[in-house]
Amino acid sequence: MKLPIFLDNHSTTPMDPRVLDTMLPYFVEKFGNAASRNHAFGWAAEEAVEIARKQIAKLIKADSKEIVFTSGATESDNLAIKGVLDMYKEKGDHIITSSTEHRAVLDTVKSLEGRGKAAATYLPVDKFGMVNPEDVRKAITEKTILISIMLANNEIGTINPVKEIGKIAKEKGILFHCDATQGVGKVPVDVQDMGIDLMSFSAHKMYGPKGVGALYVRKKNPRVRIVAQIDGGGHERGMRSGTLPVPLIVGFGKACELCEQEMAKDAARLTAMRDRLEASIMKALEESYLNGHPTNRLPGNLNISFAYVEGESLLMGMKDIALSSGSACTSATLEPSYVLRALGVGTELAHSSIRFGLGRFNQDDEIDYTIKKVIEIVTKLREMSPLYEMAKEGVDLKSVQWAAH
């Protein structure tokens, strides 16, 4: 086992060596521009891009002509939301989204709202982080032109009832965008079955390279049109200009192919490992609380709040394990995780949360080490915590008059 251990696979994933192998020829040897129609260099690049497009489309049960390459999921989210709003502004300006979306969706919608270009409804989620499809239905107005709900949450891994939401969208004739960045490659995604019209996802979350993503744009029933947000040479059927990063796209394609072939095996292995991590920690440490859905969540996700200890200090005590926390101290905003807050998790427990993100390359001995370390550091920091001491003395912490600062 090598240290440090990477258990932050929601932030990014290591690239699969098999992906790198397929990419390498496209840097030096086959360097052509996929848009060069008049020579062999261009043809080779274009052919590679089209193979990748098919591999990607196959994973999500789409047609390869429905894949628009972008720089990543953030750009895909921006393109989907702004592109739809610009295209359909005659029809309306209302967007329905949820309070636990990724910032790439939330900030895009908020920015449009701020500029007076859109009105938005931010749906609440239940205590597990799930959007209720009936809430979506109730929020629809005559002005609604887009529903944007994520597939799986990046912090708590909860998987939304996307199919039900897609059905409602279809029934009402409203476009449905899904940010599926965390889900694609990890859980089965079928844009037909799920009724998705636009879908964002990214290569680096599924063992592919950073810097490339895609927006699925439905071609029929209905044919979705979007206004390009980056103008130029008219690449990607006019929806996203810019020379295609051929090596990245080739890697993205391979990553999708591998995910398709190995998803069931990976998911079973990760779920077993994750469940063992969860059970061992919960058994050893009282007052540890699971955040997110107990079962309906991503295979590699585990988010736990450890009462009486602060998240950043937990991370500091586990320097050789790469993890993430919902603590304010780890964010730029000094506010604890808005996702956890949206589930109704108290601010103090949001400060105490740790996200474990398991991935394809994690091994059992790394999980053993992590279990040992977590128990050690939580115990040590609780000994150091005045809150733990008070709780042990029987003081109700909620009854204490704290001097908030």
């Binding site: 005045p386 704290w402 600062h405």
Partner: protein, 132 residues
């Protein structure tokens, strides 16, 4: 964020971590911060003949908060009440090399020192009044 070596040292080897009994004679207790803000510090001093002979802390918070309170106990020991009053948060910032986002940890530590001193004073005054 990278932590300074001193913050890491205090975090890994906290000085004077623990508690005195609040009722014990000569003990002053300061508790500052709030759980929902992500940091709570409890700082205690034990005073004999106007001198702080011992100090202890317990902290819920980030590494810098833990280091700030650990350092504060180190500095308090051996100081007179008057000298202890003069410890400033900026001294802590400088000693631990805290980045701007962590300055509030040092402020909290200074508040905790002041609160512990005030609590000791209150208890001492009360004892004096009783004796009279």
């Amino acid at each position: 964020m990278a932590y300074s070596d001193k913050v890491v040292d205090h975090f890994n080897n906290p000085r004077n971590m623990g508690s005195f009994k609040k009722e014990e004679e000569g003990v002053g207790t300061g508790m500052v911060g709030a759980p929902e803000c992500g940091d709570v510090m409890k700082l205690q001093i034990k005073v004999q003949n106007d001198t702080i002979v011992d100090a202890k802390f317990k902290t819920f918070g980030c590494g810098s908060a833990i280091a700030s309170s650990s350092l504060a106990t180190e500095w308090l020991k051996g100081k007179t009440i008057e000298e202890a009053q003069k410890i400033k948060n900026t001294d802590i910032v400088q000693e631990l090399n805290l980045p701007p986002v962590k300055i509030h940890c040092s402020v909290l530590a200074e508040d905790a020192i002041k609160a512990a001193l005030a609590d000791y004073q209150k208890k001492a005054d009360g004892a004096l009044a009783e004796a009279k």
